[in-house]
Symmetry: C2
Subunit: 168 residues, 2 copies
């Protein structure tokens, strides 16, 4: 079976978002055990002009839902971007997983040359489906999940790369 647009997108999003959920659950336990206000972790950043943990999770989920929707020619669900707690972030991840799982391979496969348009910094940018997935969505998606991991790791959460990669 040859690599398909579906195989390179939805199962990746589901697996990595599942891993991110487990990491956030470990962060909840950690905050509880160490008597850390969860908001401290949710608002933590690696640099003053980088986004905090909450925004990293928001953008990672945006990349996943936007990609599944655009490759399939569907409207992506709109979220309010107002999560301020771990349970709210976990709920956002869960609804993103449910949405991308609802978009079947028959909708995404064959989208290599589908025209995709998105707004980047108030500018419309057009891609074909394959470079959009391979050179825009995946690096952005991994960037924000890795940064979420790194923020928590930097703040003392005892996780390792196997938590990021998931079961092999």
């Amino acid at each position: 079976m040859s690599l398909s647009m579906y195989q390179a997108s939805v199962p990746v999003f589901v697996r990595m978002l599942d891993n991110l959920s487990r990491i956030l659950e470990l962060a909840i336990q950690y905050a509880d055990e160490k008597k850390i206000d969860p908001a401290v972790l949710i608002n933590a950043r690696l640099a003053p002009d980088m986004y905090p943990l909450s925004r990293q999770v928001q953008i990672a989920t945006d990349m996943a839902k936007g990609c599944a929707a655009r490759l399939a020619g569907l409207e992506a669900p709109i979220y309010d971007d107002n999560e301020t707690t771990f349970p709210e972030l976990l709920a956002r991840i869960a609804k993103t997983i449910a949405f991308v799982q609802s978009v079947g391979p028959e909708k995404i496969d064959g989208s290599e040359e589908r025209k995709v348009t998105l707004k980047l910094r108030n500018q419309e940018v057009s891609f074909l489906g394959q470079p959009y997935l391979v050179h825009f969505v995946l690096p952005n998606f991994y960037f924000h999940i890795t940064t979420a991991y790194a923020i928590l790791r930097h703040n003392g959460l005892a996780i390792g790369k196997k938590d990021f990669i998931g079961g092999l």
Copy 2:
């Protein structure tokens, strides 16, 4: 043209390693301007038990050369893992780009079900080519490049996500 194992691997490695080189060149300038010993940046970590910048670059390049070689059924070049300066890290990236570019699509395409074996923590692990690329190499590759970026960003280098993603 449908997504292929080659398109999902070598051009991704080349693009992201090029971006990483430019980020390291900015780090050289930054160290020079701020009178920071470059070794401080090269040995910087986000947590005491995370790898320093140099090791992040080493592992990212290992992922790229190992993947291109294994999917093609070739031996990967062996590096000494002894880089301690920015010019040495840049040379490692350059030779990795040259190696992965030397492996053509005719060698990598069709490797979806090729059996790939690697050692992970002294254990042999076998994959088929497609899950190896999609669920092992790409998350690891992006993890280490993002962490290299984050280490430098955390240490004050003025870079943004466009430096990580590259020209669109």
